[in-house]
Every structure is written in structure tokens, then in C-alpha cells.
Assembly symmetry: C2
Homo-oligomer: 353 residues x 2
């Protein structure tokens, strides 16, 4: 069975309307999604630009979302240890877990936008080391009391993070991984879930195999948890959905390229081998390519169901999907009817997966 949640990725700013309206709308969708039986709500951490910049702290939004829902899992997708002190982050996770009655799930990512590193004054060449140390320390602070830490980036004497988490030993962790086999292997060894992007499924397939093999070899029960995020627009008439979804998704891709623009103007880092080429490729991405590889679920309920089944088979299977249904400048009414139609006609058919 595939569980489906809602993902928010605010690729908007004031030119699209006041932030208060954006969040009021998202929180209404949270309430709706909870009623419709979605599995989770998920939101990013990004800064300073239209690409995600409305959500510099996902935990703040999720604390609000906790009060508008009863069942939804509250997922950071993802927090960035590079820009957060682990003592602060562990405390915030404890608060969110308490405020939601134990519904927090914490995705961690390395961050990849040069302008964010530059403004926080963090060296991109330390990205991987900060990610590894930060994730480990936050885990220790959540799972253990009296944690002493002497690391490369942070050190502190025996410290008990408060509040102690509601879920023990700690809320489920997820690791965001893009294409590096080693990232998938490491997440499996640690027993954490994988948050991946639905790239060409055949190329994801190998990495997911690596992940599940590492998971099993480390002796964790089950075979791991994989979460994929898809753009989604569901309408009775599939052609109409593609006609209305094309421009907003192309805009999302333009804003991603804009957010990552420093990669194409000279940013380089040993911690991000090949990123300049990957971002250059992203700039040539568009709705048709996303649609073709199955990462833009835009169509009728039947079409979307088939795309999901096809992708699931091609990549070797995943446990959780997130649908990004309220993106760019698509009208809230359209996003709402799309979410409702998806819940009514697609979700029930994923039960047998």
C-alpha cells in the first residue's frame, strides 16, 4: 500500500499575493487533506528567494498545521542541519512532536543552493560534514539524555534536550537523497527513510536497491521506507489538466533554476560533484519532460493512477508519495478540486500496491 500525503513548496512571493493569504490557504488545505484521509503534510526549508523562501522554518508551519489536523503526519521535507544549531533544532523537534501529539517526522537534507550558504556564511565544502554531524547530534539529543558532543562544527557539555520527544526513541527520520549511491546506502545502514526525487525511474531503481539492501544488511526490520514527491493536477478531463498545469509547472522549474543560478555562474564545490552540469540540465527541463518520466502527475484520475502504477513498477516500489498540488500560480479552487478528485478516485486504487 502506498500512503499519499500533501507537499507544500511555496514557489511564490508577494507578487503572487500576501504571505498571510498563502498560509491561510495552505492551512485550509491541511484541514481538508486531514478530512480526505491524506497521510501527511510536508513542507520545505528554503530562504530569500521565490523558490521556497516563504518557508525558512518548516517546523513553524507544521506546528500550525498540527492544530488544523488530527491524523496527518507532519513531515519536514527537509530541515537543513547546515543552517541550524543542533541544540535549537532538537528542541524544536521535541516541541513539534509534543504539540502534534507524536505526529512529527523529520526529513534532513544537505541543502544545495549556493546563495543560502553564502548568506549564512557557511562553506559549501563543509556541506556533507555538517549534514552528517548535524543529523547525528540531533538524533543523539532526541534519543538520549545527558549528551556530550565534541564535533568539528559544534561542541557542548552534557546536555538534555527538552522537551523529550513524544515518539521514542525519536520521531522517524528521513534522509533526502538525489543521485549519489553512497547517500542511499548510508540512509539504509542507519535505518532511516529515504526522501527521493522521482527522476527517470530506471535510474532511481538502482539507488533504491542499494538502499534496501543496506537496510537489510544492517538488520533493521522490514525493507525501509521510500518517499517520493510528485507534482499533481487531477481533473476529469486529462487534456484540460495538462493545458492548465503546463505553465505553472514550467514556472516552478524556472524558479528552481533561478534559485540555483549560482551553479551556472561559477559556484563549484567538492561536496557537490557534477552539480553545475545537473543544474544546467535542470534549466532545460520542462513540463513535457517531467510528464514523460512520470514525475508530473497531471491528467485524469485514470491517467494519474496508471502513471503512479507504472512509476511504482519501474523504480521497484515506494511506500509513501507526496503530491505537490498547490504550486506556483495555480488557482486555489483548482488545487482544491484536484485534491478532492485525487482523494476520491486515485487514492483508493493505491491500496493494493
Amino acid at each position: 500500500m502506498v500512503n499519499v500525503g500533501m507537499a507544500f513548496f511555496p514557489d511564490v512571493d508577494e507578487r503572487d499575493g500576501p504571505a498571510a493569504d498563502y498560509f491561510a490557504q495552505c492551512l485550509d488545505f491541511v484541514e481538508l487533506g486531514d478530512h480526505l484521509g491524506f497521510h501527511h503534510v510536508r513542507i520545505v526549508e528554503h530562504y530569500f528567494r521565490r523558490y521556497g523562501g516563504y518557508s525558512p522554518n518548516p517546523i513553524v508551519f507544521l506546528a500550525a498545521a498540527a492544530q488544523r489536523s488530527r491524523q496527518l503526519r507532519l513531515v519536514t521535507g527537509a530541515v537543513l542541519p547546515a543552517f541550524n544549531h543542533p541544540l535549537k533544532l532538537a528542541g524544536e523537534i521535541g516541541m513539534l512532536d509534543a504539540i502534534s501529539g507524536g505526529r512529527a517526522e523529520i526529513g534532513f537534507a544537505r541543502a544545495f543552493l549556493p546563495h543560502e550558504f553564502q548568506r549564512f556564511g557557511v562553506d559549501m565544502n563543509e556541506s556533507r560534514a555538517r549534514f552528517v554531524e548535524g543529523t547525528q547530534v540531533v538524533r543523539d539529543l532526541l534519543a538520549e539524555e545527558e549528551v556530550t558532543h565534541e564535533g568539528r562544527f559544534h561542541s557542548f557539555p552534557a546536555t538534555t534536550s527538552l522537551p523529550r520527544p513524544t515518539q521514542r526513541p525519536h520521531p522517524p527520520f528521513w534522509i533526502a537523497a538525489l543521485s549519489t549511491e553512497e547517500s542511499f546506502r548510508r540512509a539504509g545502514q542507519l535505518g532511516y527513510g529515504i526522501m527521493a526525487q522521482p527522476v527517470v525511474p530506471e535510474s532511481l531503481r538502482n539507488n533504491l536497491e542499494v538502499y534496501r539492501r543496506a537496510w537489510k544488511e544492517a538488520g533493521h526490520p522490514g525493507s525501509g521506507r521510500v518517499m517520493l514527491a510528485f507534482h499533481m493536477l487531477c481533473m476529469p478531463d486529462g487534456e484540460e489538466a495538462r493545458s492548465l498545469g503546463r505553465e505553472p509547472i514550467n514556472r516552478y522549474l524556472r524558479l528552481l533554476a533561478e534559485g540555483a543560478s549560482e551553479w551556472t555562474t561559477g559556484a563549484r564545490s567538492a561536496d557537490y560533484v557534477g552539480y553545475e552540469k545537473m543544474i544546467e540540465k535542470l534549466r532545460q527541463d520542462n513540463f513535457d519532460r517531467l510528464y514523460e518520466r512520470g514525475s508530473a502527475l497531471v491528467g485524469s484520475p485514470d491517467e494519474i493512477t496508471n502513471m503512479l502504477l507504472e512509476y511504482h513498477a519501474a523504480c521497484g516500489g515506494f511506500e509513501v508519495a507526496s503530491v505537490q498540488f498547490y504550486f506556483s500560480n495555480i488557482a486555489p479552487e483548482l488545487a482544491r478540486s484536484s485534491l478532492e478528485l485525487f482523494a476520491a478516485q486515485v487514492m483508493p486504487r493505491l491500496k493494493n500496491l
Copy 2:
């Protein structure tokens, strides 16, 4: 007219019950307080110990509280620039202001607990400088776009914090001040409110005069805003209130002394002249002394009204009060009936102040 809000200061930990229960109760009180016409809800930032440690990020709690209230102002009491990156803090404030539809109010404090500085690896001798720089940078990031900053503790190239605040130029600011005349003067010059402690009113009076004079001399409209936080327990029978309130308030004072214990075992800082003596004095504080100086509003509605009127006259007046009504181990049912009785029989009589 004095506006009264609710203050939460979690002087509890797991020995008193799960954090999830504590926050569920607080959020129920937020809903109740909103219905009863309270002015605001306020919560602290503290870490690692029973004295406040359940709230390492007040903005996380306030984002949840925003979804349980329609009118309440959402007040940080206070955030600590010493332990927060200004880029992060400005972004979180923008999110809270948006999520609440423009109800955020931001109190800033210097922090004063040696163990917090020690664990964050921040030198207490930099406390004042960090506070001044941090508060100023957060103001700039909220009020202006493309802010460039080269400071002692933080530097960044031209940066626009997102989301832009809902209240322009920025949510109201408050400065927490204890006893240093210069802190009161500076807050008045900057046009910010003052969050003060209800110490002996005659000694507060001079500092409030300094504050209001500086406010006027700087040309700000009106005469400033002063907020005081009181412990409060209101019951039909005043003697019964004092009998039930005594131990929980004494416990609160013990936990404060415990939180600040390093001051009595050698901590010293040029940025905290005389703190070791002040904390030593705090250790001898108790319910009777608080009650005598009017900072523990414990009694019948008539008694509490008179205490507030008396304190108001003695200190020269204040605009906003916060009542800390759910403290230590007092029973939720007692806190609830106390809040309701206060709203019904005390609040209306503060309208003429």
C-alpha cells in the same frame, strides 16, 4: 485601559507529565482565553532545564496558538538573539506574522542563564553586544529589503528576508528590561515597548519614567507601552487561593534559582554586573514576598483588582499585563476556573485604568 493577556512559562518537565499533555492543555487554554477576551498569549525561550526548557522556540508554540485563536496577539516573551541567527529569526517572525494574519509581537531579551550560554558556546561577555546587534539586524531584515550587514557577530551580503512581514514596517517590538536604567532609556529611544518584571513598584517607577521620557524625547507618538507579567490565581475565597498558590509559586522560585544556579557557583560577567547578588537574593524570595510587593496576584477578584490598581498607581502605570495562571504543578481545572473568574470579575474593572 490595561489589556491583559496570558503568559505561559513552562516550569515543568516529564516528572510533571508528558510534554504532549502540557502543550495540549496550554493550547486548550489559548482557545479559552481567546473566547474570554484576553489580549495576548505569551511564551518564553529557555532550554535544557525545568525552568522554561519546554519552550526552546516560542515561535513554534505561537504558530500553533495562532490556529486556536482569532484575536489574541502572539507575543514572544522573549526571543534571545544570543542563541539565534538573525537570518533564521527574521524568517521565523515573518512566517508567524503571516500564519497569524498579522498578530505577532516580538519581545527580545538578552538571556541571563549561564548554562544556556555555556551549552551554545556563546561568551556571556558578548551578551549585550549580541543583543544589540541581533535586535537591530532582525529589525532591518523585517523592515527593509536587500539588507547588507557587516557586524561583529554576523555578516551577509544584500539579503531580502522572506516572507515579508504582514505588519509593516514590522511586528511591534518589545525589549525585556530588568533593572538597568540604560536598557529602559534605549528601548524608549528606539520606540519599542518594555517588558518588565513587577519588582517593588517604587523601584520600577523610576525606570518607567526614564523609558517614557526617552520615548517622548525621541519624538515617538504616545508615551510608550509597558508590559508586566504577574503570577495569578483567582478564587472566590482569597484565603483559599493563597493556600493553594503558595507552594506552586515557591516551586517556581526554586526552579528559577536552579536554572540560574551557576551565578551562585562562580559565574561572573562584565555584561551582568551584580547578577550574582541578584540571584542570591532571588534564592531567598518566596511567595509571601512576591505577594507583599504585588507581583503575585493571588486572592479573590476584589483583592486582585485592588492589587492591580495599587501596583498600577505605585509604578506610574502600565498598558499591558500578562497573567501566568498555569504554573508549576497547579491543577489544570484550578487554572481554568481561575482564568474564567479573573476574566469575568477582574478584567472589566481594568477598563477605566
